[in-house]
Amino acid sequence: MSEIINVQNLVKKYDNNFTAVKNLNLKIRQGEIIALLGPNGAGKTTLISTICGLSSITSGLIKVNGLDVIKDYRKTRELIGLVPQELALEPFEKVINSVKFSRRLFGKKDDNEYIEKLLSKLQLYDKKNNIIKSLSGGMKRRVMIAKALSHNPQILFLDEPTAGVDVELRKDMWSIIKELKNEGVTIILTTHYIEEAEMIADRIGIINHGELLLIEEKRELIKRMSVKTLKVKLKKTLDIIPTKLKKYNLKLIDEGKSFLYYYNTGNERTGITSLLSDMNKIGINLFDIKTEETSLEDIFVKIIKE
């Protein structure tokens, strides 16, 4: 996949001397879904704002499709659609007029067929003549997406698209995002919901204190970082871990009825076979075994803490 966004040594410093983004480098590939995770105030929204033209850049370079976002702002902005975090809509306008207005701002001719198709896709067609004020929060969020897609952008920024929406609507949003990806749209989303990133992202970036701590393929990241836990339930209770099993760093639980063994799936050998073999040698019989996987949330918390 070719690279569609290239952020080089980006620094964003506010007037009060607060540095929101510190020397950040990021490359985004065409057609991927990238989730940017980070706590509040990490710099996610500032990063998006600088790419989209809402914030000025203190230093560094941002290229979209090989073009500088400052020098060639018209060409780069034509490629981008933005759904900001806040529900910012003209309350007294009709849904269809609001979406058409957004398209016209991008210098595009009216295309009723495209707009109606878009509204249908976002389940807004029946509401097209409704005043925005009368819509529910979830519907308003869809209108924001429709506005961002009104000019048929190649890149879509979604700044916490599912914040404050119910589970059902969140799942609807995920399917919309996946559908857009299938149509070739590159999607960059920021989210607090780790589950969201886990469900839909191809790559995951973690930002904290204005720095990009990591960016990696989701599967690779989970594989690399995930520590699995093997819970072994014993037939007979143990008071202490036998000397021959000390090397496995086992942790006795349930008053000696079970122990835990931690292993990394990224390693060549997990050590499970030799553990079970050693147990057999010293006559410890197991009653049951169970494994638990580390979630992306655990990984996120671990990285942020580090």
Binding site: R74, R77, E78, L82, E86, A88, L89, P91, R104, K109
Partner: protein, 253 residues
């Protein structure tokens, strides 16, 4: 140039006025009619002619100026402040629009509205007084430039304001008194000598005088002074807007 983008803003702003037609159009016209009734018919009938013009006709240019200046400022300031207030400026800033194009859209719409109201008031005045315009083309040009300049001023106020109170402070506490004291209802030479000199410090005097000259061929100050003053005022407003957009002051973070 993103003509469709400019047109979108312009159309959007004009539609907003049509949605609030009573507030946008009927209200200023009604206020002006009341001025005509009070100052033109009731009080004006007891007043002497000024420069061979009946008092009723004399106040027409002043009333038009009074209304269009207030309307230009209010329309343009609200036009840009409201998107700031509800957070929709992100759309303008992320669209392929230059700052000049954004200004043309908003200021163009505010100018159109104020200019239309000015013409409607002019037409309405024919119902109350006999009026002859000596330099109609100049009058239209002067009216247009006044509407545009005050719309630019309103745009600046809308950008700079952080809340509705600030949005109203400049029009209410500065522009309204200046317009009322700028010779809408009298000539400067009707004032005592000290106040005549003091009145010349009021920039609105030059605008009303210039506009009145286009109607009757007479004004408080020479017409060239009015024209030069108007051009200076317009240049100052454009310079401030240029600075705002160059620095992103109160627009970009």
């Amino acid at each position: 140039m993103n003509i469709r983008g400019i047109h979108a803003i312009y159309r959007y702003e004009m539609n907003r006025s049509f949605r609030t037609l009573i507030q946008s159009l009927v209200s200023p016209v009604l206020s002006t009619i009341l001025y005509f009734i009070v100052f033109g018919a009731a009080i004006g009938s007891r007043m002497d002619n000024i420069s061979n013009v009946s008092y009723g006709a004399f106040i027409v240019p002043g009333l038009i100026m009074l209304t269009v200046q207030m309307q230009s400022v209010n329309n343009a300031s609200f036009g840009i402040y409201f998107p700031k207030f509800i957070g929709t400026t992100y759309e303008l800033l992320s669209a392929p629009l230059s700052f000049v194009e954004i200004v043309i859209g908003y200021v163009g719409a505010a100018t159109t509205k104020a200019f239309s109201i000015g013409l409607i008031i002019l037409c309405t005045s024919y119902l109350f007084v006999d009026l002859e315009i000596k330099y109609p083309f100049f009058m239209l040009c002067f009216l247009f430039i006044t509407c545009m300049t005050f719309s630019l001023l309103g745009f600046i106020i809308g950008i700079v304001s952080d809340n509705f109170e600030q949005l109203n402070i400049v029009p209410m506490l500065i522009i309204t008194p200046l317009v009322f004291l700028g010779g809408s209802f009298y000539t400067i030479d009707m004032l005592p000598p000290f106040w005549q000199n003091f009145a010349l410090l009021n920039p609105i005097v030059y605008l009303i005088s210039g506009f009145r000259w286009s109607f009757f061929g007479v004004g408080d100050v020479p017409i060239f002074t009015s024209i030069i003053f108007m051009l200076i005022f317009t240049s100052i407003c454009i310079s401030i807007i240029w600075y705002i957009f160059k620095t992103g002051y109160k627009i970009k973070t």
